[in-house]
């Protein structure tokens, strides 16, 4: 199979996006097109990409070779060349497969979810464009090309968050996301450029970088590692750049599912795994990453326990799960982290889509305490959500259990018991807040029984079912040896496997037990507090946690307002009152001196003669001095 097809994985959704965009313009300007036209393009492209990726996957299963394709020389300055290159290795093809698959399902889901929206075509244009960018990000063979995709997904994220742009809150959320991401990009660019300078002499693709990074001084590598991680923090919503993620839920629910849960936000994890050759040299930085991940996980989980907005809870849970992933990649267990990305994509997408289904059913109601009793109204959603919730809580044999277990295991095995402890604590809280959500939404007693429940279309329900199946099955790709599995995922990603960790089977089984117990404890507390919760007794919300530790407000004061004030100061004070008034002052001073001088022009002949005489006298004095 020729390698140029690799580029078509990206090109198919991209072309489809362009066609969709043009069609959309045609539709709004000239003649209205039906939604089906858009759906045809929008829905087929992810699956075509998936099919191509699948072909490559099969090929790679057979010969195990990395596929590399250079489309053209992207930029050549001086002796450096950067190609528009695509690379399918085990990691990227793995990512591609589930991104296209889950992405495709979410597309299908969105076709139902968005069917009444005016900008149907526009939505799919964005969605396809997002997919193309995401695939470029994953398939890129060099950091620069990756960055193109990286920013592309950021842009789509912005566009989709502010999709309902008429409400300024939504646009503001979009802006926040974009700016926070850009802070991360700053790190990425700095890292990229440093790498370019110190290790780019023999080419700037990952393979060459991997070969030449060894020659770079270790301080520089440290610095690259930190800068790269800043990029990852921005994209993957970790402390301190996480603030955008909860607000990002302003976009339509499929967006939250696809971008802010399943794919884009995991790009940070992917990036760290991609640059494993950097982080392998600097384990200390890795540890910092792991700790940031751990704290993010705990922090987000804490906030999630008090939230009422269903999407916000899921958003915080995403952040929390991303924290887990960073624990893994920080500790060098990249395959474990990626595996969690993989399982998380399924169950989190499912959770969001389920939440979206509930929201649609209830006419865009997002407060869980206004839902309740959805079990009987939406049984399919109930079951699929149950699977997903169990999965995220870490109950075997659902997928989340396997991936989370591995993460905690590697934390324990690395000797970072604090990380492990935080992980377990977070696991308890995860189980708690997820089941809190679950119980309230599906079992809560809602007195207002007269509400009208919207019938959910098939296009919404089918993806739910498929993903539910996926949430169960995917876990079995990573069954640990302890349980008699072969851990296929880990094998496939062997290059990214942390080989230094060893732990005996007894400890491993004990840890596994602890994990399950932790989840059960969380579920139990949630059950106690919220099973058949009476919606009339909604607690009053206040306190630190409900207010998200006031981080948004602190940021507002620290950055937004101070910069605004600085801006006004520069534009109004420095520019106008100092620099410009200096100039204008000079000229007006000049003119006022002119008025002073002009007094000499008093039209008095005698005075003029006198001035002349003065001049002559001065010249005479000059003569006397000179001739002496």
């Amino acid at each position: 199979m020729s390698s140029f097809l690799l580029s078509w994985i990206v090109l198919v959704p991209l072309l489809s996006a362009i066609i969709l965009g043009l069609l959309y313009l045609y539709s709004i300007k000239i003649k209205k097109l039906s939604n089906k036209v858009f759906a045809i393009f929008g829905l087929t492209s992810p699956f075509i990409s998936f099919a191509i990726a699948g072909l490559f996957f099969i090929q790679m299963l057979q010969d195990g070779k990395t596929i590399h394709y250079e489309a053209y020389k992207w930029l050549g300055v001086g002796s450096y060349n950067v190609s528009m290159g695509f690379m399918a290795d085990n990691l990227s093809i793995f990512m591609i497969l589930f991104v296209t698959f889950v992405g495709g399902l979410i597309h299908v889901y969105a076709s139902g979810y968005m069917k009444d929206d005016e900008g149907y075509g526009k939505f799919f244009f964005y969605f396809n464009f997002f997919l193309a960018s995401m695939l470029l990000l994953v398939l890129a063979d060099s950091p620069i090309i990756m960055f193109i995709g990286w920013e592309g997904v950021g842009l789509c994220s912005y566009l989709l968050i502010s999709y309902y742009y008429k409400d300024s809150e939504n646009v503001l959320a979009g802006n926040k996301a974009f700016i926070a991401n850009r802070v991360g990009d700053f790190g990425f660019i700095v890292a990229m450029i440093t790498m370019f300078y110190y290790a780019g002499a023999n080419g700037f693709d990952y393979v060459s970088l991997q070969n030449s990074i060894g020659n770079v001084p270790i301080e520089i590598v440290t610095y690259i590692g930190i800068a790269l991680f800043i990029g990852a923090v921005g994209k993957s919503a970790q402390i301190p750049l996480y603030v955008w993620l909860p607000d990002a839920m302003a976009g339509p629910t499929p967006v939250s599912a696809l971008i802010h849960a399943a794919t884009m936000v995991t790009a940070g994890v992917y990036m760290v795994a991609r640059f494993h050759f950097v982080y392998e040299l600097i384990p200390n930085v890795g540890l910092v990453i792991a700790y940031i991940g751990a704290f993010s996980a705990l922090f987000a989980a804490t906030i999630a326990t008090k939230q009422t907005d269903i999407k916000k809870i899921l958003a915080y849970s995403t952040m929390s799960q991303l924290g887990y992933m960073f624990i893994a990649v920080g500790l060098g267990s990249y395959s474990v982290g990626i595996f969690h990305v993989f399982t998380h994509a399924f169950f989190k997408a499912l959770l969001f889509m389920g939440a979206g289904a509930v929201i649609v059913a209830l006419h865009h109601e997002q407060n869980i305490f206004k839902m309740g009793g959805m079990k009987k109204h939406t049984p399919v959603v109930f079951f699929t959500m149950l699977i997903a919730t169990l999965s995220i809580a870490g109950i075997p044999p659902f997928s989340g259990f396997f991936s989370k277990d591995e993460i905690l295991l590697s934390a324990f095995a690395s000797g970072e018991y604090l990380l492990w402890g935080i992980g377990v604590l977070t696991a308890i809280m995860t189980a708690y807040y997820m089941f809190r959500l679950f119980f309230v939404v599906f079992f809560g007693k809602n007195s207002s029984e007269d509400r009208h429940i919207v019938e959910l279309p098939k296009s919404i329900l089918i993806p739910l079912v498929i993903l539910a199946v996926g949430s169960i099955l995917t876990g079995f790709l990573g069954v640990p040896e302890l349980l008699g599995g072969t851990n296929l995922a880990s094998q496939w990603l062997s290059e990214w496997k942390n080989t230094s960790l060893h732990i005996d089977h007894t400890t491993e089984s004990v840890l596994m037990l602890i994990n399950v117990l932790a989840a059960l404890v969380g579920i139990f507390i949630a059950y106690k507090k919220f099973y058949k919760y009476d919606m009339t007794k909604v607690p009053k919300f206040s306190g630190m946690i409900w207010n998200k530790f006031y981080i948004d407000e602190i940021y507002d004061v620290l950055f937004v307002r101070s910069i605004k004030r600085l801006s006004s100061f520069i534009a109004m004070e420095i520019d106008i009152k100092i620099i410009d008034s200096l100039l204008m002052g000079l000229s007006s001073k000049f003119i006022s001196i002119g008025h002073l001088v002009a007094r000499v022009q008093n039209a008095n002949t005698r005075f003029y003669a006198f001035v002349m005489l003065c001049g002559i006298s001065l010249i005479s004095i000059y003569l006397i001095i000179e001739l002496r």
Binding site: Y72, L75, G149, S162, N175, I193, K564, I570, D575
Partner: protein, 492 residues
Amino acid sequence: MDFSILSVIIFLPIFVVFVLLALPVGAKGSRNAAFVTSIMIFILAMTVYLNFEFSGYMQFIEHHEWITSYGIYYSLGIDGFSLIILMLIATLIPCAFLLLWNGRTKAYWVNMLLIQSGITGTLFAQDLILFYFFWEAMLLPVFMIIGMFGTGNRVFSTIKVTVYTIMGSLFMFICILYIGVSFFEEFGVWSFALQDVVKISSFTRSEEIWLFFGFMIAFAIKIPLFPFHTWLIQTYSNSPTGGVFLLSSIMAKLGVYGIVRFVMPLFPDLYIEFAPYFVWLGIFGLIYFGIAALMQTDIKKMFAYSSASHLGFIVTGIFSLNAYGMTGALFLIIAHAMATGALFLLVGKMEYNLKSKNISDLGGIAKQAPIFTLFFMIMLLCIVGLPGTNGFVSEFLIILGAFGMQASAGIVSALTVLVAASFMFWMFQRAILQDTDNDTSNMKDLDLKEIIGLAPIAFLIIAMGVYPDWFLFKIEPTIQHYLVDILQIKAS
């Protein structure tokens, strides 16, 4: 050369102006004539581009005596650097004319044509006096166009900008004369031709420093660099669309061009010596103007600051003394010219339709004019430097260049990714998106002509972002040519 194509490019608009003035042509006829002229110049420029040889040296040279007694030559030539700016001008101006299609008077078009002549003349001149000649002459139609068709306190601001820029260029004038006299004293013949005056070796250090800053002041005011920027804000805000388009997208770049064309070969030692300061000045401008832009309420003022911010960044690239920075600066010249020019044109349309350029009066335009919004977005993304647009390529290269000069400069300059994004997106939210109670129902979407005008710009912005190398190969030898000289001196 039998057919002096560069002269034709310069003087064709002037010729058309004379014809227009002689004949009783109305506004429409003048506009059509101007448009046809710009298209013809585009064709001529394409001819130049296609016949341009792949080398770093001057081509299409025309050398005639002008004022023989003082060795002033009518000397034209073009190298890769000017070629790319020529192509930019030739492409942008017809596109812009399409957007300025309606509601302009004959005087407007006459001035636009004159400006075009001045710009190309400045670009081709290879003689210091000839360069100064066009440099100053260009100012007049700009003066007229801002003063006659501007808004607000236009008379005051027009005079202010004219006196200010002439002040800068007059200092350059003195320096040019000084150089000419020095050449005469050293070689015994008069010449102001660039190829001759670079041979001067008799300057003392203090002389060189004076001359260097004499030139730099002229260019710094035109660009503008901090702290010579105060004219810019008012002028951009008061200018008519066409004027601000030309000012921002082309004339400001000529300041940068002047640095590369004249300051660099004339004072290579000082260029290297002061390069770090200018790199930092550029970065300072980038951040300073970027922050200042944030709270502007007038959308044109905001773009003015944004423009200044980017030009600071271009200067950073020019002074970074390596191929990345130089290439990046050249790329940013193009990217910024296209994006800012198009943005100003779009804002001009907005102002024309809504009679307001105040951000708080706008909002809800996206709903009214989706195609407008699409183009606005593309230009905005280019300004922000999003990958996939040429804005990113240039920013990346300049950061790389700055890093090559000083690691810290590179890191600080990387803040560019934040600076533009913050104010641009905020502006976009308030001016274009949202749904406000302000009456924006008068906003018309782009018509076909305007789409045809903007589409090439948008296409190029994206094409240059996706496949930058294709646009670089012709200028690569020129950049190398400049650098070889610079690096040799740096080494010694």
